[in-house]
Amino acid sequence: MAERVVILGGGTGGTLIANRLRRVLRSSAEIVVIDPDDEHIYQPGLLFVPFGRAEPGSLTRRRHRQFRPGVTFRQDAVDRVDLDKNEVLLAGGASVAYDVLVIATGARLVPEETDGLTGPGWMEKVFTFYTLDGAAALRQALARFDGGRLAVAVMDMPIKCPVAPLEFCFLADSYFRGRGIRDEVRLTYVTPLDGAFTKPVCDRELSGLLTDKDIDLVTEFNTGEVDGAGGRLVSFDGREVPFDLAVVVPLHGGQAYVERSPGLGDELGFVPTDQRTLQSKAHSNVFVIGDAADIPTSKAGSVAHFEGEVVARNIARYLAGEPLDAAFDGHTNCFIESGAGKALLIDFNYGTEPLTGHFPGRIGLPLLRQSRLNHLGKLAFGWLYWHVLLPGREIPAVHSRMPEDGKRFSAAAPR
């Protein structure tokens, strides 16, 4: 009998794994993708919307148009998964049986979990650029902003694209310079971490950039309350950061159906996953790709891309009754916009922090250093996303495993 692979989520991970599986599995295997809506958002573009450098309408396409022939798309909401019966129960009451299930439903923003965040002032002087509506509304608010205190705050980890709020600060600095009002604006970056970034070499570089651009850094700030009316962030330990305009990254969790599915998720709704094979710890026929997993990588599209090869191979092996390949190394690759038409590039994995050098080899894009080339790389990535990543193809010279050639490992030694 033909096998059926059901993929929950038609975003970055779900789309690319459906297309990869269509190539890897025999044609009799059925591949079904389920998602409650048909709008695929190019999330890396959201960062540019508030500054008028990307149009909201240009970032979305139809989900169902991104699949190869032979992939079935069902527009349905999922109520829960019954792991024992190998069944997905849909919100309408129908059920879909599977031989293999892929969880690709990403992370969900839960702003309501922070006291006051969605209360008075929300979408008036407190915004997020992590949604299309929020990014578009923030553009209007920035255009009206003539000076004062702008706080950019991360509520708590984990978040999607952990460098995005830093990029927002750098781009805001450029934006206000461009408008000739940078001196009127006090920019503050507020983070629950003990530095600008978690990894030492990268932290030094990004902290230096914040200083150069005259952006204040407030660390170890766990926001307990956002007081929109009073214009202040209040931490659990009683500290305050005042603001006239706040840009926050809300708390993230997994999807609600994960929480409704006994045995599938953890306390936050993410799915416990083997970090090398990408098989779920809950059930041997459940695999996880992208932000939905609890593994210690960044929640980023590049990670889903690098995971794709391993997940596709392991699903094929599972169906063939062969042992899985523990091949995923945690490879992550991110462009960091630093303003004024420049960007940095970082490339790292479970064992290697972001280092200086070049990518993908000794000749290539400069790592952890501002350059015009990296900015162009970031812009080019939009095309690669729709035409190479989502179809499940390889980027020339860029592999699932992190390249070591070109990296300066001596830079990791403490200064």
Partner: protein, 105 residues
């Protein structure tokens, strides 16, 4: 790595004072570590969190974050900060003799 003596036993800690080997920890060490952190007394609520931290570490290999503690320990995040004013996840982990909770990337 530095060595510190608690309740007559020499234990290895890292530069920030976190145990490197949680098996070296015993309950009578907790009040001594707490005192170094400026907590003069450990209440029943403190112990509830400390025991929960140990349990989570043994089950998952890493201590919970503040947010997870608030959702699962039976103690709200607000109260956690009252109990452990220097940051609950880190301070309770230190007193419970487990490594510093792994930060997220």
């Amino acid at each position: 790595m530095p060595t510190v003596t608690y309740a007559g036993t020499a234990v290895i800690v890292n530069d920030e004072g976190f145990f490197t080997d949680p098996a070296q920890w015993r309950e009578e060490m907790a009040p001594l570590i707490a005192r170094q952190e400026g907590l003069t007394e450990l209440s029943e609520r403190h112990w509830q969190v400390i025991k929960f931290m140990r349990h989570e570490y043994e089950a998952k290999g890493t201590g919970p974050t503040v947010r997870v503690l608030g959702k699962t320990s039976g103690v709200s995040v607000k109260e956690l900060y009252q109990l452990f004013p220097h940051g609950p996840a880190k301070e309770a982990a230190k007193i419970a003799g487990i490594p510093k909770p792994r930060g997220c990337v």
